[in-house]
Amino acid sequence: MVTLNDYLIASGLLFAIGFAGVLLRRNVIIIFMALELMLNAANLSLIGFSRYNVHDGVPDYNGQVLAFFIITVAAAEVTVGLAIIVALFRARQTTHVEDINTLKF
């Protein structure tokens, strides 16, 4: 029997994996993909809650609606982010995030 906790733990682990990716990878693109993983993990947990919050036999669709929005917005964010990365790449000729440190004091 699958309980909500299972879904939550799965979501959490996925989030942790994504976070680890953000922290530990040097390539900007990979970091971005890990960011997407994190968003999706959140989505999973949202859908899980939506499914388990049942009113009169009908699941609480608010969670699903929110997940829908997240997907949409994440898509928009990916486009813009990638455009920025492209511009950055053109300026710096590198995708290593450590080399992008001109905001250092």
Binding site: I17, I29, A34, N40, G48, Y52, V58, F69, A76, L82
Partner: protein, 156 residues
């Protein structure tokens, strides 16, 4: 499977392999959604994410012509710090989850109406969250325009 491929995403050195692992991860996630009776969201996930977003990623990787990453000097303290944070995070997560009574509840007892969940989601979406919907639509438009501007080369 989702988790496994998620791990592959971050561990791969080749960005293309990374991207493909991400696609598989998404598909697995969509399957999880369906298992939660969230059919609409699952389909949307595949359509939008795996279809559009990942394709975009692959385009960019191609565009920037990224090779496999070469080994670089590892910044040991940073990596350790990162690991510590991750471990802590997982610990907190497990604490939360095991403290969460409702989570151990069993089965979701549902019985939906005959319309299927797409109808329901649509209803909620267009009734209560109509404004938000329109705003998100505008957001996408703005993002498109922004991308166009950002990718202009400097006019000589």
């Amino acid at each position: 499977m989702m988790l496994f491929f998620g791990g592959m995403v971050i561990l791969n050195r080749n960005p293309v392999a990374s991207a493909l692992s991400l696609v598989v991860s998404f598909i697995a996630l969509a399957a999880l959604y369906v298992s939660l009776d969230a059919y609409f969201i699952g389909v949307i996930q595949i359509l939008v994410y795996a279809g559009a977003v990942m394709v975009l990623f692959l385009f960019i990787i191609m565009l920037l012509d990224l090779k496999a990453e070469s080994r670089r000097r590892v910044n040991f303290p940073a990596v350790c710090g990162g690991f510590v944070v991750i471990i802590l995070f997982i610990k907190v997560l497990s604490d939360v989850c095991y403290g969460f009574e409702g989570g151990n509840a069993k089965f979701p007892p549902i019985s939906q109406g005959p319309q299927g969940d797409v109808w329901h989601v649509g209803m909620v979406l267009f009734r209560q969250y109509n404004v938000a919907l329109q705003v998100v639509g505008t957001l996408i438009l703005v993002a498109t325009i922004g991308v166009v501007i950002l990718s202009k080369r400097e006019l000589k």
